[in-house]
Amino acid sequence: MADELKELFRYRYLLLQLVVRDIKVRYKNSLLGFFWSLANPLLQVATITVVIKYVMRLEIPNYSAYLLVGYLPWMFFQMALLDSSQVVLAHRDLLRKVYFPREVLPLSVVMANLAHYVLAMVVFFAYLLFYRLFLHGAPIGVTALWLPVLMAIQTALVIGLAFFISCLNVFYEDVKYLLTVLLNVFFYLTPVMYPAELVYAKLAQLNSPMLYQLYLLVPMNALTNAYRKTLLPPFEGLTIKGTPIPSQPLDWGTVAAAGVICLSIAAAGYAFFNARKWVFAERV
């Protein structure tokens, strides 16, 4: 694996070129460019907020901020994985003609989506600051400094999964359909639209706190929870059927576990990809 990494490093300029090309091509003929990538999550968040607050009438103060802080990481996760399912096939002409470390392909789509995610987070901070300055919003706590760490852990997870998905899709094109379905399901299972405390409350009723620990071992669950706790103040005044749901402090153990799991997935994905990458040219 050390040799593979060395070769990858030698081709770092190609990786950069692929990322730049991906971003350039995406917005080549659009006036608003990057803002289109923000339009989708913002509209989605606005829609969900309206439905939750005014149609279903759940009382969750400052809901859109709590939703957005979970939704932006989810967008990164979803877009990068969907792109990775197509990336090897999209470069079939190159693969069949030229040698280059194949792993730059999935890495490039993860990096391009990470760039979008970082920009989206900058906009998110501007939004928090705006609320703080003009609408008496909550201050941004020092725990926000953990953001780069959380993003790094999530990126490791996305890279690992992208290695598996991009590779498997070469052999079985069902993978991309399966992926679309799974992403849909997991969007609702991950605490994006609701706080993890609601899952805890439900599982506590079932008297099985172990299940909640398991729930938080799923990396995106732990990460979404951690993003929310570190970037926003604890929510207040949330009640379900008259029962108050208290906000819980972040359990850093779950974040550490997620970190270990994500790094393991990244390493396993890289090994899986490397074992198969030289057959791509014969299969695409």
């Binding site: 030698r10 081709y11 770092r12 300029y13 190609l14 950069l16 070129q17 692929l18 090309r21 350039k24 091509v25 080549k28 003929n29 002409d93 190159l94 693969l95 069949r96 003609k97 030229v98 040698y99 280059f100 052999f171 079985y172 094109e173 069902d174 993978v175 399966l178 030289w278 040219a281 014969e282 299969r283």
Partner: protein, 257 residues
């Protein structure tokens, strides 16, 4: 002896599938009992090419020419045998493979250079030479989708040659472009040869093979049928085609291009 390219008993077989992309369903349902057949692309090829040699690879369609080039270019891994290549390789990409239509000629040069393993600083010193040789000074900042086939060909050749590789691999691309530019290409290839660089090119054009390469390798059904002086080997190859033509009805491939 110090070789640029050394193939030792290289064989390459491919799995032939009924459908190109299997689905998960068929993979799960089909009982694996020898359904996939293997086809031999190269059979026990041993070949050494010295630094500074120019070698033409000839043979009929499906004889393994492109497979050989891909084995040398590390696109395919051999099924058995070993491949050693010393020096930086560059492949002249067929039209369109390495170009993104929406990006400008200049952007595409950087991308192509990166694919050949070059970095930003390597390319910065070479970009003017590449643009000059391709005669694209007026169009280099226009999207490549506005280029003619001839312009794309010129750009592709220019990138492959002006990035100064030790070994240049060419897969049947010199056939495109006007006569004047072809002349220029052959001139550049001569200079390249005199600089001690190695060229391996696949072609159907036997005249081109004779004028550029001193050595020819003739492949037939994945095996080396002839290897040596270009004039002799191309003559043998033509003989075999005519021979088949007499009793099999196969036609002599045209040498034009």
């Amino acid at each position: 002896m110090d070789y640029a390219i050394n193939l030792n008993k290289v064989s390459k077989s491919f799995e032939v599938m009924r459908e190109k992309h299997t689905s998960l369903k068929s993979a799960l349902l089909s009982v694996r009992r020898g359904r996939s057949e293997r086809v031999l692309g190269l059979n026990n090829v041993t070949l050494s090419i010295a630094h500074g040699e120019t070698v033409a690879v000839i043979g009929k369609n499906g004889s393994g020419k492109s497979t050989l080039l891909r084995i040398i270019g590390r696109v395919y891994r051999p099924t058995s045998g070993s491949v050693q290549v010393s020096g930086r390789m560059s492949t002249m990409l067929a039209l369109a493979a390495g170009f993104h239509p929406e990006l400008t000629g200049r952007e595409n040069i950087y991308f192509n250079g990166a694919i050949m393993g070059l970095g930003a600083s390597d390319l910065a010193g070479k970009i003017d030479k590449i643009i000059d040789f391709a005669e694209l000074n007026d169009f280099i900042d226009s999207p490549v989708k506005t280029y003619s086939d001839g312009m794309l060909m010129r750009l592709g050749f220019s990138i492959a040659v002006e990035t100064d590789p030790d070994i240049l691999l060419i897969d049947e691309v010199l056939a495109v472009g006007d006569a004047e530019f072809q002349e220029k290409c052959y001139g550049r290839i001569d200079a390249f040869k005199h600089a001690g660089r190695t060229i391996v090119f696949v072609t159907h054009d036997l005249e081109a093979a004779k004028s550029v390469a001193s050595r020819a390798v003739w492949l037939s059904a994945g095996e080396v049928r002839g290897d040596g002086d270009t004039v002799q080997v191309t003559a043998q190859y033509l003989d075999s085609l005519i021979h088949i033509g007499q009793d099999g009805g196969a036609r002599v491939e045209s040498g034009g291009g």
